[in-house]
């Protein structure tokens, strides 16, 4: 399974998770884990997803999520999991 990380940073508001989840469901991307925190009004969230069944190319999904982020006024990134494993773990 190819795991990817969606991370969201920005000002908290209604519907951030709802919007992202709707898009993921439409594109057959399964959510494996979600964690989030709000520090001083700053919303931080990450989702671990399985993109195996997604038919769209990875960079197109990434672009779609960026534009959803722009509409919501938050920054959304899609990245393959490896980068975090490599940089943060020995």
């Amino acid at each position: 399974m190819k795991k990817s990380i969606i991370s969201v940073v920005g000002k908290d508001r209604v519907g951030i998770i709802a919007n992202i989840c709707t898009y993921l469901a439409q594109n057959d991307i399964n959510i494996l884990d979600i964690s989030q925190t709000i520090v001083g009004g700053l919303f931080q969230m990450m989702m671990i997803c399985d993109t195996d069944n997604c038919k769209k190319e990875f960079h197109l999904v990434s672009q779609d999520l960026n534009s959803i982020g722009e509409k919501l006024g938050v920054q959304i990134k899609l990245q393959k999991e490896e980068i975090f494993e490599k940089m943060q773990r020995i």
């Binding site: 991370s7 931080q44 990450m46 671990i48 960079h59 990134k77 980068i83 975090f84």
Partner: protein, 454 residues
Amino acid sequence: MPSLNEVVDTNTMFERDNLDVRTITLGISLLSCIDTNLEKLKNNIYEKITSTAKDLVKIGKEIEEDYAIPIVNKRISITPLAFIGASACKKSDDYVELAIILDKAAKEVGVNFIGGYSAIVSKGMTKSEELLIRSIPKAMSKTDCLCSSINVGSTKTGINMDAVKLMGKIVKETAFLTKDQDSIGCSKLVVLCNAPDDNPFMAGAFHGVSETDNVINVGVSGPGVINRAIQSVKGKDFTALCEKIKQTSFKVTRLGQLVAQQASKRMNIPFGILDLSLAPTPAIGDSIAEILESMGLEEVGCPGTTAALALLNDQVKKGGIMASSSVGGLSGAFIPVSEDQNMINAAANGNLCIEKLEAMTCVCSVGLDMIAIAGDTKESTISGIIADEAAIGMINAKTTAVRIIPVIGKNIGDSAEFGGLLGYAPIMRVNTKSCEEFINRGGRIPAPIHSFKN
């Protein structure tokens, strides 16, 4: 699985601290292109480069998209051209023709620099190598992406002072032929001592003859990340400072290792080395000098600067070495004046002089880099500066280099504008007392003794 904190920490490095992969450099051996016929050689070189590197830029972009990381440059290094052109080039202009072909091939595959217009003359100079060196000014003025490097000395061979003398003249001529653009040709020309075979950074990159056919070398960067880490240990002792630099350097290097492995796998070309160098850009927050200032210096160039740089260089290596399977290239901290905002400020304020920079080059990677001097500086003075740097490299068994720009038509008080990653630089003062008699002696400074280290 990564934690939220780890994800946020990683992405902060990219967004706030300008962390990036500075370059994926594809080394290509051109030895198989050699021919006695110049036209055939030109075709062979063009074919070899455009076929081997055709996917380099595309694959670099794919990696950027997969991990949402910036990979700033995709580049090519080739076998030092003096080897390749030896049997076909009968005059300097023949080499210029090869230069134009290399530039064309680089543009065709979309890389921003191609390095390897080079000769290794650390002990002696063949006729062909001399032809190449003499062709540099014209080659630099007729190309955009081509970088040239000449290795004039090594710890094993000593310093070829005939080459040092010649390079003073060549630097001046290159400056003159590109005087319309603040002598920018010299920013793509570097004179080295102990040049490594696997350096991915320009202008000194070439694909050494000790290398395999093709190889992927990667250079990471992250002065901003290191700077933020140092700010978090403000007021703590050196043990805490060093520990923090090592931890951060580890993370930065792992990023490079990941990109290198991915590039190697996707291009089906072996991974060579990761270069641990911290490389600044003129962007705010991407400065080596700022790191030194965060350690507690009022402005780079003040007493303590050399010690701070030595500490930084060593800790970056210690942290990085464990994060990569193979480290090489220059691996240290670069101190190019024009490419580092805080260096520019210190030089403009008169607090950073060439002599202090020379001292700093004893403890960091490379050497006197991207320094603009008055256009009327004598050839022999430039040779003298090159000889001094080469001597530091030779005696200390390290790589040193000189990339100096005598900006034609400009003097102290003016500044030179190179644009982009190359930045801008105030014209720095050079000691004008003559070393002409010393440089004119000719011959070779013999290799140093390797005992009695004092």
